[in-house]
Each structure stands twice: as C-alpha cells, then as structure tokens.
C-alpha cells in the first residue's frame, strides 16, 4: 500500500463533542494570531483525530496528495476566489453549534444538530481521486460515511427524485459572500440514485483528522466521479425534491457547467479541453496525466447513466 497512515490508539482519539469544542477554540486562537500579525491558519494547533478504519474496497492505491496542498489549494468562493484565500480567511467560520435542516419529500423532516446527524454512523476512511473542472486533481484520504446511509434515515418518499444541498449563507462568517461571483447560498444537487450510490460520501475529516474549515467543515459532500464543484461544502440544508434542483455553477454559466458534471475526458469545457489533468504534488515534469471517464470510477457508476447522451447532459 502506498498510502501510509497510522491508526491512532484509542487514547489519542477525541470524542466528537470535545473536538468540536476544541475547533471553536482553535478558530478563536487562529483569529487572534492573525490579528496580532503572528501567523495564519497553517500555524494553528493540529485538528482533532478521528477514529476511522480504511475502507479498502472504495480506496484507490495512488500516492495521496500532501496535507499541506489539500488544505492550502482550495476553491471555496465563500472565502475568496484565490486558491489560497480559503486557508487565509476561513477561521471566521464557526462550525459549532451546527445544524442541518432536512426538508421536502421525506417522512422525517426538521432541524438536526450535527451531533444528531453523525451519531449513528461509523466513520470510515476512503482514498478518493478529486478532479476539478479547472483541470487539476488530487488524491484525498477522506473520513466520512455513505450519504445514502444518512438519507435513508429520513425515509424519502417515492416522490423524492432528487436531493438538493445548501451551504451556509452568512457573510459575517463567510466574507466572500459579500462579492457576487456566485449566487448565495451555494447550492448543489444529485439525482436520488446518484445520492444513494455507495461511492457518494459525506465527509467530516481528511487524513484522519477533523476537516479544516477551508475544506468544507464541518460536513461536506464528496462525489468522486463528478467535477469537484458538485462536492458541496459546509452543508446546512438537505431537501428531497420532485424536480431537478438548481445548482450554483449551472446558474452562473449554464453553457459551461451542467447538472450532471460527470468527469468526462471526451466532453470539453466550452473553453478548455478536459482530456488531461495536472496532479497536484506530482512535480513540474510529471504533473500532466490523462483524465479517465467518470474519474476512474466508470466500473461503479457508468450504469447510472445508461442510455443518456452524456455530450448533451454534461
């Protein structure tokens, strides 16, 4: 196995309630450090460890991207449009208390605390590829649990054909929301069968630790066969819908970003080719590699799209 991650002993593992409290302390400490001009988020104390066993069935055997790159090179416009902006600006996000509203075509609806959301689920680690629509890619050891396991708890009705997700909207915590590059809040969606697919993951951590704010803390989606913008961050709302929900990048540029957004080397973005990608951390001379259909997950997910014209439904 290429990825070496040592399993922490139980004594080192922090219960979620404690780590979430600690996160708040970390955020405060980071903010005061930044205020004193003494440093940035990179110097904050390490985030709490999470107990999670590697799920080998859903992990790729590729070199994982360095933690520093995963946490310093982000698209999270809520904190600015530069790749380094989220790391610099995300300390203002308060991830506790946090609640998620469940609505729409389901028997169980309402507002749930993050603890309620997480409680029944055993966390696991999955090493997934992440392919950004901008032609760069990473390999990330996420910690999380299958999205479908959560969705089933709310007993979606037969009318639940799609699932819509919503990011927090609070410009005081998310300063980038003062700019109008996208409509806020950020929204995303999946067809119900996509959402129930075992590869669709809700992540709460990476590299065995709690998610840093800039990576979408405290709860984010990871859909590894789709372009990264589908994997919505800092989720506060999940709604089961009858019809296809609006999605942020599709609203912003419908010609360029479709609802499905499956990774597809054969369908170019209107402005650039998607045939290749640059692997972050692979160095200067070996960075470029071919992009695979469905980001290498075709065997698992191609069946979801049988009979669909993926050129048109990009």
């Amino acid at each position: 196995m290429i990825f070496k991650y040592h399993q922490p002993p139980p004594s080192e593992i922090t219960p979620p309630g404690v780590y979430l409290d600690r996160r708040r302390w970390i955020a405060a400490a980071t903010a005061s450090l930044a205020f004193a001009g003494a440093g940035d988020a990179a110097e904050a104390p390490p985030l709490a460890k999470l107990a999670a066993k590697r799920n080998a069935r859903y992990s790729v055997a590729e070199t994982t991207t360095a933690y520093e790159d995963i946490t310093s090179y982000n698209n999270f416009y809520e904190f600015g449009t530069g790749k380094g902006d989220p790391q610099r600006n995300a300390a203002t996000l308060r991830t506790r208390p946090w609640s998620v509203t469940i609505a729409g075509e389901a028997e169980t609806r309402g507002s749930f605390t993050l603890e309620d959301i997480l409680k029944p689920h055993a966390l696991e680690e999955r090493v997934y590829r992440l392919r950004c629509v901008e032609r760069w890619s990473m390999v990330i050891p996420w910690v999380g649990f299958p999205l479908g396991d959560l969705l089933r708890r709310f007993k979606p009705t037969a009318d639940a054909k799609f699932v819509a997700f919503r990011t927090l909207h609070d410009p005081r915590q998310m300063p980038g929301q003062s700019a109008g590059w996208l409509e806020w809040p950020y929204v995303e969606g999946l067809r119900i069968d996509e959402a129930m697919h075992p590869l669709a993951l809700l992540a709460v951590g990476l590299y065995g630790r709690v998610l840093p704010n800039q990576n979408g803390a405290p709860l984010r989606l990871v859909v590894p066969w789709k372009y990264g913008f589908k994997s919505i961050k800092s989720i506060v709302g999940i709604t089961f819908t009858r019809t296809m929900p609006p999605t942020s990048w599709n609203i912003a540029a419908p010609r360029e970003y479709g609802f499905y957004a499956n990774v597809n080397p054969a369908v170019a973005h209107p402005r650039w080719s998607q045939a290749t990608e640059r692997r972050i951390g692979a160095g200067l001379f070996d960075a470029t590699r071919p992009t695979e259909p469905f980001n290498g997950y075709a065997a698992e997910v191609a069946g979801l799209y049988r009979g669909m014209d993926l050129r048109r439904l990009f």
């Binding site: 790159d69 310093s72 090179y73 416009y77 449009t81 790749k83 901008e134 760069w136 590059w181 996208l182 912003a252 540029a253 170019a268 402005r271 650039w272 080719s273 045939a275 290749t276 640059r278 972050i280 951390g281 160095g283 200067l284 001379f285 960075a287 470029t288």
Partner: protein
C-alpha cells in the same frame, strides 16, 4: 554623465535586471532556492507568472511613448525596445511551459487547443504576431524597412488587445484582474487616439515629437 551614457551604463542595465527578476524568481522556485516555492500547482504557477509578466511588459512598452511625451523626456524611448523584447521572451516562455509541461509535447492536443479553444487561438495568434516585431527590432531592420517599419510595429496594439483578451477568457469567474489589465490598456490606446485627433485638428502641426515618437532611437 551625458544622457547617452546615463542610459547606456545606468538605466538600461537597471531595466534589464528588473525585467529578469520574474525569471529569476521562477528559477528559484523550480529549484527551491531561497525559500521560493511554486506552490501546489507549479505548472499553473509558471504559466501565470510568464503570461502576466509578458502582459505587464507589453503594457509598460506601450506606456513609454505617453510617459516620454507627458514628462518631456524623449530619452525614455531608448528603453522601449528592451521592454518589448522582454515581453516577447516571456510570452515565448509562457508558450514553452504550456507545450512542454502542461501538454507534454502532445502535438495533437496542442493543435486541437489552438484550433478549437478560442482563448488559446487568440493567445497563439498574439505570439505569432510578436515574432515579426522581435525579428525586425534591430537597427539594421529599422533602416531597411524605413516607414514600413512603423506600420509593421503598429501590430503591437492588436497584440496587446489579444493578450488581455486571452487572459480574460481563460479566467473561470473572478475577472477582476483581467479587467484591470483591460482598463490600463484602454487608457494607453485611448491616449493615442486622443493624440491623433488633436494632431488632425492642428492639421499642419509637424511637431518635433513626430520624430521623437519614432521608435527605437537608441
């Protein structure tokens, strides 16, 4: 020191070194010298640095004439050729990084990019148009081409427009920076239009600057 010497031994070497700095900083980043890093996506970083430096120098080249005129320092024109040639060098390096590191010399990909991705088409066009300008930048070519030299080198206006457009078109969403470039370019080109109109109004004014703005007096 006479103006001639000051430019030859002080200003030109200084501008030469300043124009080399972005290249040196990239080189330091490639080899990790002096704590320089190219970041998570080094190819993108090199592409952006080369491209933006080329644009910066191109706009600076276009700023020389207005500055010389407004500040009454025609000698500034002696720096223009060097700035223009550096702009060309960084644009060529930008293309080389794209070709070798981003596209790994995949000829069919490059052809597809140039023919089917409009922002690459116009960027490549701008680079091609820079070639004859760089090739005719010597004193000898200037003398040989005479008046046609000036006509040829007016291509730089088109090249600058294509270059800024190329940048604007490849940005995903936040177009602030390309718009700043576009604004500066608009001022530089607008000044020229305004000057020409003024000149036409003064019909017979064959100003001394008419010859001072002739390029490449070194």
């Amino acid at each position: 020191m006479r103006v001639e010497q000051r430019y030859r031994y002080v200003w030109k070497p200084l501008v030469f070194i300043a124009a080399l700095l972005p290249a040196l900083s990239m080189l330091a980043g490639v080899f990790g010298i002096a704590g320089q890093r190219l970041g998570a996506d080094p190819v993108e970083e090199l592409l952006l640095t080369c491209g933006k430096t080329a644009l910066n120098l191109l706009l600076l080249t276009l700023a020389v004439t207005p500055l010389a005129r407004i500040a009454h320092r025609p000698q500034l024109l002696r720096l223009r050729r060097m700035l223009g040639l550096f702009a060309f060098a960084y644009a060529a390096l930008h293309f080389a990084v794209y070709l070798a590191l981003d596209r790994a010399f995949d000829a069919s990909m490059v052809v597809e990019d140039i023919t089917r991705r409009p922002y690459i088409t116009i960027g490549f066009t701008a680079l091609l148009l820079l070639l004859p300008l760089a090739a005719t930048s010597t004193q000898r070519m200037m003398r040989r081409l005479g008046r046609r030299w000036q006509h040829l080198h007016r291509l730089v206006y088109l090249i600058a427009i294509l270059g800024v457009w190329h940048y604007y078109w490849q940005v995903k969403r936040d177009v602030t920076e390309p718009l700043v470039y576009a604004g500066i370019l608009a001022v530089l080109l607008g000044w020229r239009v305004w000057q020409r109109r003024g000149a036409r109004v003064r019909a017979a004014a064959t100003s001394t600057y008419g010859s001072a703005t002739a390029p490449g007096r070194t």
